[in-house]
Amino acid sequence: MALNDAQVARFSRQLLVPGFGEAAQERLLASRVRVVGAGGVAAPALVALVQAGVGRLWLEEPEDVTPADVPGWLYSQSSVGTPRVEAAAAALGPRSRHATIGPYPVGGVPTATLVFAPSTAQALAAAEQARRAGLPHVVVEADGEGGAVVTVPPGAPCFACARSAAGAGRPPEPAVAALSALAAQELLLLVATPGTVREGRRIDLVRGVTTTRPTARLPGCSCGEGQPPASP
């Protein structure tokens, strides 16, 4: 389906990036991105994804907006106590007529997954689910003002292989918005220009500076065994 004039006008600046053309934008518009966790740390990424043209944003988030989520990029004070999914949809909807935002539907098959889970156990579970389904996914580990982003294209070493050995990070600070934006970018590259990121990688962000390493399989990890994951 070709881009119409409204879409061309909206996404013109992206469409001018070499290597990011009509096909890339169409992939975004056709994508269904499952986001696990929609608290304050996820907010900048949610805004970026909607604005970049992700067609369907599926939020897996059972909690309400908490006082810790405000003030922030997305939730207003008046939304505290209301379900995060509803508040997010209300705040994100006006950002783009090309996006639909809602709860992750039972049985839904996403194109890609972005994980902002509040606990390591939940992050591991969500990442493993995406991996088994052969989906590209990105997992965010916030740590104070920075943290790490683990990018897993299909077939790459899993999140369990690449995650921080140090365990859970410190509570997130406002500067973590940068990490959130970076995670959104990694996700967008996986969806829009899948040839760009063929290998798994981990990007650490500490005091405003990034360090990127390719991820490697830990010996014995089940992500290296058996059948390759089904193609997305």
């Binding site: 600046r13 992206q14 970026a48 783009s96």
Partner: protein, 250 residues
């Protein structure tokens, strides 16, 4: 150190300025002055987090301030619907504790650097192009260089403007703007900047980040404070000084 008594001056409220403003506000800065003279265009909505569909056609300064006030009621936001220029730059810089430059043209970027040096205030400079960002902090009395230490010469005469120079990934701008906001928060808290005297570049496809030293260049007119603000020779796209160029293409 509480930031509620601090003021941040942010130039531009778009792809870079928007995320910087949000990060600063969330970080608890007491007062924010934003300078922006454009109107919201549909193409802005793909990457400028302060605006939504209802803002198209509106003046950016007012729309940005309204969004910030709604999300951060505890922050004092002053919107200046004007361009940063020689007639207002010094006054604005003196009234702030930190300057954040999210502008989209070299004339303004150079002016911001010159006035930061003149007013002896720290400046977080940033730029994005396609999938690459770069950030530099110009600190008063620091060892690092200013923008003119990094860039020296004006562009070749008669260069045809290229449409592709308008290309940028929204997430690259968001990442850059948030990093700039985070740096400004550090500076306001009295910490040494992460990008003081060090140009940070990040290319998104390869996720390659680099730090390049930017020393004070001997004889730099910017550092000497001898450039007339906004005057001839202060503008336009420069060539990067050889000693400070990061290795290889961005």
């Amino acid at each position: 150190m509480s930031l509620s008594a601090k003021t941040a001056l942010v130039v531009g409220a778009g792809g870079l300025g928007g995320p910087a403003l949000l990060t600063l506000a969330q970080g608890g800065v007491g007062r924010i002055v934003l300078v922006e003279d454009d109107a919201v265009d549909t193409s802005n909505l793909a990457r400028q987090p302060l605006f939504d569909e209802r803002d198209v056609g509106a003046r950016k300064a007012g729309a940005a301030a309204a969004r910030l006030r709604a999300l951060f009621p505890g922050t004092a936001v002053e919107a200046r619907d004007e361009r940063l220029g020689p007639e207002n730059a010094l006054e604005l810089a003196r009234a702030a504790d930190v300057l954040v430059d999210g502008s989209d043209n070299f004339a303004t970027k150079f002016l911001a650097s010159d006035v930061a040096v003149r007013a002896r205030k720290p400046l977080v400079h940033g730029g994005v192009l396609r999938t690459t960002l770069q950030i530099l902090t110009v600190a008063p009395a620091g060892l690092g260089g200013c923008l003119r230490c990094l860039f020296e010469a004006p562009p070749p005469e008669g260069a045809v403007p290229s449409c592709t120079q308008a290309g940028v990934l929204g997430t690259t701008a968001a990442f850059a703007g948030a990093l700039m906001g985070a740096e400004a928060l550090r500076l306001l808290a009295g910490e040494r900047g992460a990008y003081e005297g060090r140009l940070f570049t990040f290319e998104g496809r390869a996720a390659r980040g680099r730090l390049v030293l930017v020393r004070k260049r001997q004889g730099c007119p910017g550092c000497a404070g001898t450039v007339p603000l906004g005057g001839v020779g202060s503008a336009a796209a420069p060539r990067e000084v050889a000693t400070s160029r990061p290795g290889g293409p961005a």
